[in-house]
Amino acid sequence: MGIFILRRLGVMLLTALCLTFIVFWLTNLYPNLEKLAKTQGNFRMSDEAVSSYLGDRGYLQPMPVKFGQWLGVMPGWVTEKDDGRTFGRCFPEGTPEAERPTRCGVLQGDWGFSTVFKDDVGPTVATRLALTGKLMLCVLLLMVPSALIVGVLAGMREGSNLDRSLSTFSIATTATPEYVSGVIFIALLASSKFGLSPLLAEWGWIDGKTLFLGSATSAMADANFWNFFLPVLTISLYGMGYIARMTRASMAEVMTAQYIRTARLKGVKFSDIVLKHALRNALIAPFTVIMLQIPWLLNGVVIVETLFNYKGFGWLLVQAASNNDIELLLAVSVVSVVVVLVTQLISDIGYVYLNPRIRIS
């Protein structure tokens, strides 16, 4: 087991390195750099001005050198201007020579400087990640139990009316991407002119103008049911159908197993069969699915945060990518790649622990 985890960690590290290099390469292509220079400087820069701007800031070095500098294994660039100003990757203008560090990169814990937010990347990503963490936690709390309940209820009597209705429901949710369900929810529940809210307000059932708030900006500081439920529901719904279908398949398979028949013939109550005999075995497969679903939630997070204007990690990704903020984008992709790989690892290890029939030697 130890060797298995070590090997997986090695592959993970290699994957993360490859992926960050790809992101690095794509963001450092010359047209992207030109756009960066023009948005940072001004839009009417001449070609010479662009190349001197980029050259001064070390953007025109060879790709592996730049990547090494970002990683912190190569000494950072230092530019000495003709007028005697000296600045570099690791120190601003006017730092005395003795205090200039040679290397600064991810290995030294320096994630760089965001050109969009004019701030250090590390703290920026951390605050946004905390906000998204809150969102994700709520999503998991809503999505996992309801998906498991739907799946178990559908799978315990295959072919019944309950099964058919719940299966249709889960198919419908997997067919509804976040940007569709979000739009429908806002129009139906959070619009003061259409949908349910005006009706309910007229009857005096709700205090405010709308049942839910269509924007989650206020939920960043203070999340409550009114302003946070719609984004959470929108993300949960799309992921839920898939987990529910997997749970249903797994439950239906378990219910046809020999030991369930034995329990039935012994005269065990149906509820006891489901809860005590079937459930534990039926939940092995959904566990891995849930873990593998987390990276997919990341997509949903980006869409929903854009739609509901919740300034979290997904919003940060959109900002970084649309402005070609190289170092911020790299940090964002490192975080998301690590999330993907760690969940894969956890799902593999968890599967081995939960399923005694599988042993890794």
């Binding site: 010359y30 309950l162 940007y179 003061s192 997509n299 854009t306 739609l307």
Partner: protein, 488 residues
């Protein structure tokens, strides 16, 4: 000219429709609740010793459910037929039903022909044995016909999808056109968007974008996935390790990040999409060449002309596809010459190409993994061993023994994946990537409509519901196919 209501002169039926709908929902809830309580009908022993049992309360409820369902369908049909006859006299729905008349005719023809000959049509014919599959197929074909009739022949649309009509900005569905001229359609059936364009016509034009790109992109992804996945699964070893690592690498990328990196005007300038197109579009050629060669290499006199003709046609298509204005890659500093313009069959817009390429790129690793898994499973079967003993080549075994036996899961996944590709295309449109902002595709329209969602939801709701129904149809179709392919 008065604004249209939703159902016009058929509005007397609305109360019945709502009542049936409400009863149906109620019955479904009741039937779910009763299914939680175990019950059985009473049994009676007949005088001749036979046992007779009635179906009990559950049976009664499911019978009611069935009748209510048929009543609902009958009512919908009344609305449709009434709409076709009365046109806008039956309100917005009526107007739409009449506009869609060619689609209804095509759908009815398809269904009548398919059901008549279903026993001769293989898996496709078996689809018509399953209700779910038929519903899914119906929805999918509805959008396919809409896309073809509306997008290619300009038949169903009421107005030009790009022209802005003064005074129609953000107007509600059914608003009459101000100062409409003779012969012009008098209403905006689904209202106007924030640039005063007709939502209904844009919806129809948008379906063509999806119907065009999604199946083709999925097909290319399958070609790539099959061509790489079969040898990875069959040979295993180092080839498998390398290819699987690459596939996992792409899969570990968050899709949206990848889109944001690949689908930008700056990346188009560097020519990377063209290189990717060159790489990804060659796979169908390789696939077909190996497929035919492995089968007919024992008869060179037949194989050689066949390959020349087939590869000639495919090669011309390939070169037309990747070359634009006589060059394959055109950047500021260099260009790679391609097919000269007079031989170039068709040009693909750079925006569409980059969308297409990135969707194929994102989809193919998943297909690769599925095909690899299937190949790993099937290569242990006896018929593969028999073929190996006969001395067949590895590619013959992969393409003519393993692949046909993996077709069931692959066809099902193909349907599901078209749905997923549709979602991806919508995502791209939602973030305003790739296609130009006035493009009528559903994702871009949702993106344009979401800013005023709380005030004028119709501009975003219409394409959202369209996308939802298409993907739902594809999912139901896949479900029906899975059911039917498991049956034999």
């Amino acid at each position: 000219m008065d604004p249209l209501t939703w159902t016009g002169s058929l509005s007397g039926l609305n109360i019945i429709f709502l009542a049936v709908l409400g009863l149906l929902a109620l019955t479904i809830v009741v039937s779910i609740l009763t299914s939680l309580v175990p019950s059985s009908g009473t049994r009676a022993v007949g005088s001749d010793g036979t046992l007779a049992s009635d179906t009990g309360a559950a049976g009664f409820i499911s019978m009611v459910l069935g009748y209510l369902f048929y009543a609902l369908i009958a009512l919908v049909l009344v609305y449709l037929i009434g709409g076709i006859i009365l046109g806008t006299g039956a309100g917005i729905f009526g107007g739409m039903a009449r506009q869609f008349l060619p689609v209804w005719i095509a759908l009815i023809l398809t269904f009548v022909l398919s059901i008549t000959y279903k026993r001769r049509l293989g898996l496709y014919g078996k689809l018509f044995d399953s209700t779910v599959g038929m519903i899914g197929f119906g929805i999918v074909m509805f959008w396919v016909f809409t896309g073809v009739f509306g997008g290619v022949f300009d038949m169903l649309i009421t107005h030009d999808s790009l022209s802005q009509v003064s005074g129609m900005k953000n107007k509600l569905p059914g608003t009459p056109l101000r100062g409409a001229e003779e012969g012009e359609y008098q209403w905006f059936l689904l209202g106007g968007d924030n640039l005063a364009r007709d939502v209904f016509s844009r919806l129809i034009k948008g379906s063509w974008v999806v119907v065009q790109i999604a199946p083709m992109a999925t097909l290319f992804a399958f070609m790539v996935g099959i061509t790489l996945g079969l040898p990875a699964g069959y040979y295993g070893g180092r080839l498998d390790t390398v290819l699987s690592f690459l596939a996992n690498l792409i899969l570990a990328f968050p899709v949206i990040l990848l889109f944001y990196l690949l689908v930008t005007p700056e990346i188009v300038l560097t020519g990377i999409p063209n290189y990717m197109a060159m790489f990804l579009f060659i796979f169908p050629l390789i696939f077909v060449a190996i497929l035919l060669n492995s089968r007919f290499y024992t008869q060179p006199s037949f194989r050689t002309p066949l390959l020349i003709v087939v590869l000639g046609v495919l090669g011309w298509l390939y070169l037309s596809m990747i070359s634009n204005d006589g060059s394959i890659v055109q950047t500021d500093t260099y260009r790679i010459p391609g097919l000269p313009s007079f031989l170039d069959g068709f040009d693909i817009d750079a925006g569409i190409l980059v969308v297409f390429v990135s969707v194929v790129f994102v989809n193919s690793p998943t297909v690769f993994r599925i095909v690899r898994g299937l190949a790993l499973d099937i290569k242990t079967r006896d018929y593969v061993a028999a073929a190996q003993t006969r001395g067949e080549g590895p590619w013959y075994i992969m393409l003519w023994e393993i692949l046909p036996n993996a077709r069931g899961p692959l066809i099902v996944d193909f349907c599901l994946r078209i749905g997923y590709t549709t979602i991806l295309l919508g995502t791209l449109g939602f973030f305003g990537l790739g296609l130009e902002s006035e493009s009528p595709d559903w994702g871009s329209t949702i993106n344009a409509g979401r800013r005023l969602l709380a005030l004028y939801p119709h501009a975003a709701i219409a394409p959202a519901l369209a996308l939802l129904s298409l993907v739902l149809g594809l999912n139901l179709l896949a479900d029906g196919l899975r059911e039917e392919s498991l049956r034999d």
